[in-house]
Point group: C2
Chain length 213, copies 2
């Protein structure tokens, strides 16, 4: 089932991981079949919204029978390309880099394969999850030899621009960006997914202080 | 300037931190005045969208003169209540909890004040940023004495439900949630801001494998 890439909007793409996550929870709970109404309740979307989303990818469901949870889970996993192992490096082996390398990325079905970790203080840090931490001086040679496609940026924002410029010249064009530096301003051609942890805390601050209760 | 809380939609609220972040960058770069057209270029929004957003909070700008960057930055900071110090505890002193406690939360103007860190393996971890790590057995007494309003959840998802149930009985009703557990399913009454790091990686996987290049 090949989706028509051009017709799929960002909100739909951003909902796919949520569907996958909820279906994963259902699988763990032993649920084998669920209606769009059932998914709508746990996800807070309308059943029609869910059917519309799934229609972008050819449907999935049998009218009246609901969805097979395992099949739907695996199909959405395929659409997300979680079976891929895109060669990935991580820069910045502080607490956040450590957390990302040890949990989210360290997963058979993440879609990515961590092949190197770099830090400017490499001498002080032994390893993460069995990976040696390499000094930044080795970045050029490593990229030439191993051709990573993806970089995870866990450095302070101050060094992010210079680092991104360098990584792009080394052939990397996909970024998972935790730095708050807006890569697309200078490099609109790359693929970037940003995690703005600070924005989330600010949104919580607004909501915490503006609740009606 | 008091906004009319009822009229402000989630997308507008979620854009406020982005405005704040961009204005922060402009301040650091020494920019003192900027038009809505200028903000629109760096943020990828239309000037009319920006004016509409700001009108929810009474405007800010003088037509034709652009916005005073420092004033606008500080006004948005006030709207976000970043000057508050909501008493906050963090549960889960692993790498992620460490990163959050040491960087984002450890900030004079975060809107929150970290007053305690808890971990089920408290015996093995000395301290984070000068904070002693307390064992979970001390959670009840600590909450009764110190009345935290906010909890940051950095635990594995398996323990998240039980933990959230407990924290809510202890009077906590605001959560910054990194666990992927959907708190609102069982507790629609609380305020939750989720950080779904895993969802972001899945969205990157989709985009990385569906680029037109």
């Amino acid at each position: 089932m090949q989706p028509n890439k051009k017709t799929i909007s960002n909100p739909v793409i951003n909902r796919l991981p949520r569907y996958y996550r909820y279906l994963d929870n259902l699988l763990v709970s032993g649920v084998t079949r669920i209606s769009s109404g059932g998914i709508s309740k746990i996800m807070g979307l309308t059943p029609s919204q869910i059917r519309q989303d799934f229609n972008h990818f050819g449907g999935f469901g049998q009218q009246g029978y609901g969805y097979n949870v395992k099949q739907l889970h695996d199909e959405i996993g395929k659409i997300l390309h979680l079976d891929k192992k895109l060669p990935t490096i991580l820069i910045g082996a502080g607490n956040l880099g450590n957390a990302v390398a040890c949990s989210t990325l360290n997963n058979e079905n993440s879609g990515f394969k961590l092949i190197g970790i770099f830090d400017k203080n490499a001498d002080n840090i032994a390893e993460i999850n069995g990976f040696p931490i390499l000094p930044m001086e080795k970045l050029d040679d490593f990229c030439k030899e191993n051709c990573p496609e993806v970089a995870v940026l866990c450095t302070p924002p101050q060094s992010a621009k210079e680092l991104a410029d360098k990584l792009i010249t080394l052939g990397i064009d996909k970024f998972w960006n935790f730095t708050n530096y807006d890569l697309l301003v200078h490099h609109p051609e790359v693929i970037v997914e940003n995690v703005h942890i600070k924005d989330s805390l600010m949104a919580l601050s607004y909501r915490a202080n503006n609740s009606e209760r």
